[in-house]
Symmetry: C2
Subunit: 324 residues, 2 copies
């Protein structure tokens, strides 16, 4: 990844204009019971209600509509077994161009179905990073499609940063914003927008304790790529991207971790009190806040609920049918 140029606030504003016709302005919800629990005033930015059920559509849509006509005609390609793959397929559909999605063996059937439903062209490969990249490169050679990386991509970062533009319209006076951190695309876009518009508002990255490569990377001052992820947060198993690490470090973003038990408890709290069906990767933001309650006491905190694509037939907790 040479010559990476980070997006600016102007790029994020341009992204907002570019995606306005396709993406949703997602609502901000709150619940008195969660405020009481946290001892803080919480605002949940509902990206699980975004097109495709995740914030990923913003970045994908900005990337697709940033292409020239000639580039667009050759399509886009990415490797992703999760929300980014479906988001890119949906974004490509808005421009009527092909989206090639490289999917490793063993991907969750429900997520494959989302990609297919969105009209994505699926390319199977072995479940290794090398196989993903090789297959992606091959599709690029054969089709001339443009690679849209899930997070190490300035257009994607700019798209994700549009969340902050909306959020600040909806809740102008925030002490902190908490976003989940996997590859770091969402955090990168938000960090740029926040520093430009609200330098006094802290950005906190929430990371699963079982996939804490970003936490370790910031602690040691260098990017750690050796963490083998083990977490229920299926959307956050990626290693932080190279440009994402540099950008977030230079912006002084803090990372806080929470373990899976805390994530599952928060997921239930969001379902029960906020009435929102979110995936574990989203519930993590509340888990992190509750794990470090004293750090947010009395503050006004926005939490980005990043996605809601969870399979009710495979909930990460047990439920009992009524009457048993």
């Amino acid at each position: 990844m040479t010559q990476f140029v980070a997006p600016t606030l102007e790029d994020i504003r341009a992204a907002a204009a570019r995606i306005a016709a396709y993406a949703r302005v997602t609502p901000v919800l709150d619940a008195a019971a969660l405020d009481e629990l946290a001892g803080a005033r919480l605002f949940f930015k509902c990206e699980h209600l975004q097109v495709g059920g995740a914030f990923k559509f913003r970045g994908a849509c900005n990337a697709v509509w940033s292409l020239t006509e000639a580039e667009a005609a050759r399509g886009v390609v990415t490797h992703s077994s999760g929300n980014h793959g479906a988001a890119l397929a949906l974004a490509a559909k808005t421009r009527g161009i092909p989206a090639h999605i490289v999917v490793p063996e063993g991907a969750v059937a429900a997520k494959l179905a989302n990609i297919e439903r969105a009209g994505g062209i699926i390319h199977r490969c072995a479940a290794t990073q090398a196989a993903r990249e090789a297959t992606c490169a091959q599709v690029q050679r054969e089709t001339g499609a443009t690679l849209v990386h899930p997070y190490a991509d300035a257009r994607v970062m700019a798209g994700q940063g549009t969340i902050v533009l909306e959020l600040l319209q909806q809740v102008p006076d925030l002490d902190a914003v908490i976003v989940p951190i996997g590859g770091g695309g969402l955090a990168s876009g938000c960090a740029i927008a926040l520093r430009a518009l609200r330098p006094g508002t802290r950005l906190v990255g929430a990371e699963p304790a079982g996939a804490d490569d970003a936490f370790q990377s910031f602690a040691r001052g260098q990017r750690i790529t050796s963490v083998v992820p083990h977490t229920v947060c299926d959307g956050l198993r990626a290693t932080i991207g190279e440009p994402n690490f540099e950008l977030l470090r230079s912006h002084g973003v803090e990372v806080i971790t929470a373990d899976d038990a805390a994530v599952l408890a928060a997921m239930r709290q969001l379902w029960t009190e906020l009435k929102q069906t979110v995936e574990p990767s989203s519930a993590l933001v509340l888990a992190v806040l509750l794990a470090r309650r004293e750090r947010f006491a009395g503050q006004r905190v926005a939490l980005v609920l990043s996605g809601g694509n969870v399979d009710l037939d495979a909930l990460p907790f047990t439920t009992r049918p009524a009457g048993t």
Copy 2:
């Protein structure tokens, strides 16, 4: 219930002003996948995001703030093991007055906890209609508290009707509005507001097939009180109220039923596609629409999601933990 005087549009407007400081303007959500499924344009009015997790707060709040100072000082009383009890307790709290809630034996623990959390004073009684009414009357005699009936009450109807005022601001051009029907308070308020403001918009009452006393009552032209409810929709087991029946009949409200299997399927669809945690009584509105798809084909339809108070430990369907 003698000398019942139905509320007017002006009463509903007054209710909106009265509750504005306490109730929420709930959002309207939609999802492309549900539109496709229905073959219609669907708008979900999210009353499960109302204070207390159900539309009931509107009517309760209007009733509480309609009282004179002297009346208010003596408190309010109702019999309800469900959302109305908690809503009345919450509404009373906004005015700092006591709320006596008569709860029959066998009430769901989670709902009792909601009433207690809201500061309601619980009075237990046997699980019969006669015991409920006798206990209620006794509390009234002892305390001078004002009875706020869950649905056969003009102030409550007017409060529930404020949903339509909001909805028409949010989505002005609707062909139909679907609301769940139990005692008929919600439907009554909505019928009055719709006839006054949008006489061309149909109001449809959604009723569980296993508690279809309203459906039978309209079919026979007289109020049927002999139905023994058997349905997963725990919020809709009440018999339609006397004034509610007369009012809804004179407004030509249509009732459509759906069975429990359709309700549970719709509940899952709302969780999966709209990302909303709703209770069975709410999911019923979608079940009814899908059961009579041809009646709504190509139309713009608002569906009122009435509440979201469901216990994740007692879901009315089975889920499997991940990996099993």
